[in-house]
Amino acid sequence: MEGSTTPLQQELYEKRQTIHPRQVTGTFATLRVAAVLVLLGLYYIVPWIPWDGRQAVLFDMPARKFYIFGLVLWPQDFIFLAGLLIVAALSLFFFTAIAGRLWCGYACPQTVWTEVFMWIERRIEGDRNQRIKLDKRPMDAHKFRLRFTKHGIWILFSLWTGYTFVGYFTPILELGSKILTFSTGPWETFWVLFYAFATYGNAGWLREQVCIYMCPYARFQSAMFDRNTLIISYDERRGEPRGGRRRSDDPEKLGLGSCIDCTLCVQVCPTGIDIRDGLQYQCIGCAACVDVCDQVMDKMSYPKGLIRYTTENALESGTTRLVRPRVIIYGVILLALVGALVYGMLNRAPVELDIIRDRNVLYRVTDKGLVENVYTLKILNKHHEAHRFRVEVEGLPGVYVNADTDREIGSGEVAEITTSVQIDPVDLKRPSTELRFRVVAEDDPLVVNEDEARFLKPL
């Protein structure tokens, strides 16, 4: 099918060409660098923060406990984690409806790590033009040295990133000393290398292709957009007709708009698009083109903002409505969810109780003529202190409970307590009666939980 490539193939073909974005300075570039420093700073520092003799933030997979500062989450609290993720997703929706792809431009890990990788690349290989030249140059000692240094530093940085990542899941200090003595477990090694490789591949090689071909958010974010969403746009009415000119020329006399067609906005774009062609899904909203275009406008002594943060409505009629049904709906759902989550967290049961009936013997009649059922109570103490627990049974009068509760259950410990319940048959009206079990800490009535189980009698 030579000669009749479809636009899509054409696009695929073109996208494979390495993009060498030119370095930008300016308000938004500064903002992004600040975001990168804060976010990556947090990422690399947080696992080193101690708390109460342990790591402050540790998703301790081996022990199946998640520590987030003072908070300890158990597998049973999975619902909160799920809730947290849903809240995060909804916030992203909410945020996108108002501010568009601000997330992409400043906070996405892909952007943040790519920014660092590009910075390293720039330090070693120079800015755009030098890199393009270097690309074209045949391999020689000089090129090899530059490439070697770049990839070497990238790989070291990636390895450190992978180490940090695994440090969120297994104590980072221990992991560090294991690495130094080459005694990490096979899976720890695997995950460090895996994450390092992913960082190196995504931030070093794939870059904008992650956004264009892999990122699910990039695909569905347009569903949250409307005409009042903040976007980066070229002001066509002001810019066109574009054309080169001297600084001293009066564009009006030449019949030209403000765009001097310097193509700088294309050169700085990390995804290699021309913002002047209109809103495109490849645009990650990084505002590099805004910064560079403002500098050009300054040099030409034209007003800034030929490319700027704006909304479709503002471009057309000059007004933007911030509060609109979409924003209200997202906002209300978000608030409700956050409320429910906080409420749930605060009222989280400090003990888990699971009741298992003895399956082999349904009931037994004692010497005294009482009916006895035996249960195993699985108690998980999620409270941060050890407790001795008392078992109480409600639902019928004259219940005798015998539980071997003479042992303390430590924080985070699960204990199985065999509990026998005896009831006088005259009190048992039906063959099967519902009983309510309560376990309560002897020294703290707030550390308590309840569950139901059936009590059976002979027919």
Binding site: L8, Q9, P75, F78, A82, W187
Partner: protein, 94 residues
């Protein structure tokens, strides 16, 4: 030449990447309810540590996803009956 390669590259991403995401999500949900110890015990695998349990199950799920995605793509690109096998028509774009 380059054209085909980039299509393949995208095919590879389409196979590896969504299955990775789904495997991550499903292992997360699975392990919220099941302790890898128990799981490995049932399966008769001597995992050695919980971490291996997590990893083995995750990689297993990922592999499952990869096979599914590959199969889906394979079905998608099989030529219709009667198509000339020696000169297949233009590959469906992935």
């Amino acid at each position: 030449m380059k054209k085909v390669r980039s299509t393949r590259g995208r095919g590879l991403i389409a196979i590896l990447w969504p299955s990775f995401l789904v495997a991550g999500l499903s292992s997360g949900i699975l392990f919220a309810f099941v302790d890898p110890w128990t799981l490995m015990d049932e399966a008769g695998i001597d995992a050695g540590s919980r971490l291996s349990g997590y990893s083995i199950v995750f990689l297993f799920l990922w592999l499952g996803g990869i096979v599914t995605a590959f199969f889906a793509l394979y079905i998608f690109r099989t030529p219709e009956p009667g198509a000339n096998q020696d000169h297949p028509r233009e590959e469906p774009r992935l």
